[in-house]
């Protein structure tokens, strides 16, 4: 678990102008380690150095100082690239190639045998919902469609390390959700994911650990729970109860805390609501010009059958039913909580 995939020590990047004078210190003394199987998030406002850090990890930019090792080698080592998948900030694909040709081309760069390449291409196209557009040239694609192609090409080699620069930017909520599911699926298979984003909810949903950059400097580093948990407060969620039941519960709480707890109805979040609406609409229409029905995660990426099953219906808004044991544990906890004072 603690095998380091990326190690950065005192990383620094200074952009210079034509006269070699330092212009911008985009990354300033950044150190962190990403371990195998982790989903690691780079957070920060615009211009804080996220993309610069990622580009250094990819060997696109050379660090001004500091040490950087990726998969145990220099980031400029060509061979390790076989194990890396990269989704850039924007889509940089060849406008005259069709989506299928694009994926196939990148497959060739990994020396994938023809059969394998074709199979993966098909599956990826299914996954990103662009099967119907596989003979269309990428140049005509909308931003989100192009991003999806970008995502697909990043995964064609079934990489061990996936680097995603703002993976959800330009994507519709379904795409966002799918990407998040994908990231989880990859992580579940022991892959390492490094992503940057300024959409905090995304990061919160998927990341194990995050680093927060501001002005090129590390501001905070840790697991999501470490960073976000407010250890001094509790929140209680429960199914519909009768008025008397609620009264009794509240009385008990009041008696315990000595003051009034806040009570309201839980709301569905907008993401979930949107997903439901689109799902309904999709069932009503048959033809799509944009993104077609996407199918979860490409089979080869999902790995074993069980996991596949688990991730089968990511667009279904209902949470997965809890197992009996989990149910019991939850009940137990709740019971403890609402138990009236002795």
């Amino acid at each position: 678990m603690s095998e380091p995939i990326i190690e950065a020590i005192g990383l620094q990047k200074v952009f210079r102008d034509f006269w070699r004078r330092p212009k911008v210190k985009a990354v300033n003394d950044v150190s962190f380690t990403v371990n195998r199987g982790e989903v690691f998030g780079l957070l920060g406002p615009n211009g804080s150095g996220k993309s610069t850090t990622l580009k250094m990890i990819l060997g696109l930019l050379y660090p001004t100082s500091g040490q950087l090792r990726v998969l145990g080698r220099s980031p400029r080592d060509v061979k390790t690239k076989a194990r890396i998948g990269y989704l850039p900030e924007e889509s940089y694909s060849y406008p005259y190639l069709t989506s299928q040709e694009t994926l196939s081309f990148y497959g060739m760069l990994f020396d994938l045998p023809a059969g394998e390449r074709q199979q993966r291409t098909e599956q990826l196209l299914d996954m990103i919902g662009l099967r119907h557009a596989r003979r269309r040239q990428v140049g005509e694609f909308s931003k989100g469609m192009a991003r999806r192609i970008g995502l697909a090409q990043a995964l064609i080699n079934d990489p061990d390390l996936v680097i995603l620069d703002e993976p959800t930017s330009g994507l519709d909520p379904i795409g966002c959700r799918q990407v998040k599911d994908l990231i989880k699926a990859l992580a579940a298979r022991g892959k390492t994911v490094l992503l940057s984003s300024h959409l905090l909810s995304d990061v919160e949903d998927v990341c194990d650990r995050v680093i927060i950059l501001y002005n090129g400097k590390v501001q905070a580093l840790g697991t999501i729970n470490e960073l976000l948990e407010q250890k001094t407060q509790y929140r209680l969620t429960m199914p519909e109860v009768s008025a008397e039941g609620l009264q009794r519960i509240l009385a008990a709480v009041r008696a315990e805390l000595g003051n009034e707890p806040a009570v309201d109805h839980p709301r569905r979040d907008l993401e979930q609501f949107f997903l439901e609406i689109v799902e309904k609409a999709r069932q009503a229409t048959t033809e799509a010009s944009g993104v077609g029905p996407a199918s979860g995660v490409a089979r080869y990426l999902a790995g074993d059958e069980v996991l596949q099953q688990l991730l089968k219906t990511p667009e279904s808004p209902a949470p997965a039913p809890l197992s009996a044991a989990q149910q019991q544990a939850a009940d137990e906890k709740l019971r403890k909580l609402v138990e009236p004072p002795k």
């Binding site: 696109l60 930019l61 060509v78 690239k81 940089y92 190639l97 020396d111 090409q153 080699n157």
Partner: protein
Amino acid sequence: MNKVFAIAGIAIRNAIRSRVVVVLLALLLIAIVALPLTIKGDGTLTGAVQVLLRYTLGAVTMILSIATLWAGCAAISLEVQERQVHLLVTKPVFRMQLWLGKWLGLLILNTVLLGLAGVASYTLLRWNLRQDDVADILVARRVVNPMPLDIAADARQIFEEQKRRGELPPGPPDQVLEAIQQSLRQQAYSVPSGLARRYVFPVKPTGVPLVIRYKFASSSTGKEQLACLWIAGSPDRADRFEKPEYAAPGGVHTVRIPPAMVDTNETLTVDVANVHPMPLTMVFAPDDGVQLLVQETSFEMNLVRCLLLELVKLAFLGALAVTIGSVFSLPVAAVTAGYALLLMNIGGYLQTLIGQKMIFSAGAQPGILDLLVHWIYVILYWLTKPFQQPSALEPLAAGELVSWTWLGTIFLWQVVVAGGAVAAIGVWAFNRRELGLPE
């Protein structure tokens, strides 16, 4: 290698889908079809054929050269600019493979286009000539130079003779010897009236007619023709071939010689006698004064070799352009490459400039500036000299052989040596480049 082909493949696909290829084909077709309609020959059929070949194929290679330069410069620099290269170098692709892929794509396109253009111009040529007898025009003859004169031995003999008699002029012996050789050479190439001079050509008996091509200057300043007699065949034969000629000095003339005159020892002896009644001397140029032309292969094979040779040059140009494009951004690269092409093509002009000291105004003492400019030209000339190969179109049009040896040498030089060096520089520079930086 697959990766190289994959990269070449998308380069070609891009060229086709962005209609570059169609536009090029159209341009080539216009050149091939329209040029012959507008070009003036010298009024002879041979001239018409030569000009047609020279100009249509010249236009074709020029169009392709410019297109190659542009496309080559754009190949990598545009990808850097559009950042598509980010997705290439984050894959397990060596930059050399990327370079090779781009170059190979260009080469394949060039091969196809040049091939099509060659077929089209050949077809058009044959169609234009469908009613003419072209047996003597569409030829491919090897140019055979006479065996070198053995001047050294004679000079040595004269030297010894003079030494023995104590008549040796003052000066270091090797310079005296050199002077003797010089004057012997001079004598050997000039034929005063009433005298003859013998040339011996190494040639295998082939049965095809042989042609002597000669050119001389007259010791008279006038332009009057001189009477000379050409005699071919070994001197002990009774049936030596004789042909009197009344030839104009300065012009290039030919004499046909029956193939039977070739000797059993695989030589052809040719005597030229100056039989002019006036005391005028014929002076043959030492390098191309008298040459033998031997039909060697078909015109078609010559055309193929000529096109291959042009392809080799395009391959080098492609390498140069891809390298420049992998170092500079497109506008800079295009200007640089264009300049390089220009320099390579005005080598002759530079040579004339420096050789005849045309920069200096006649008579005046050259100033510092004149000298400076002169030396800049000299440096430019020497820098570009290795890349100045004579065009294969000239001999093709003139009906001279474009030999495999020549093709091989040019290939070795332009593709293997020069192309390799350019590629190495390109890959080295490209490797050092931080591609994440914007242009």
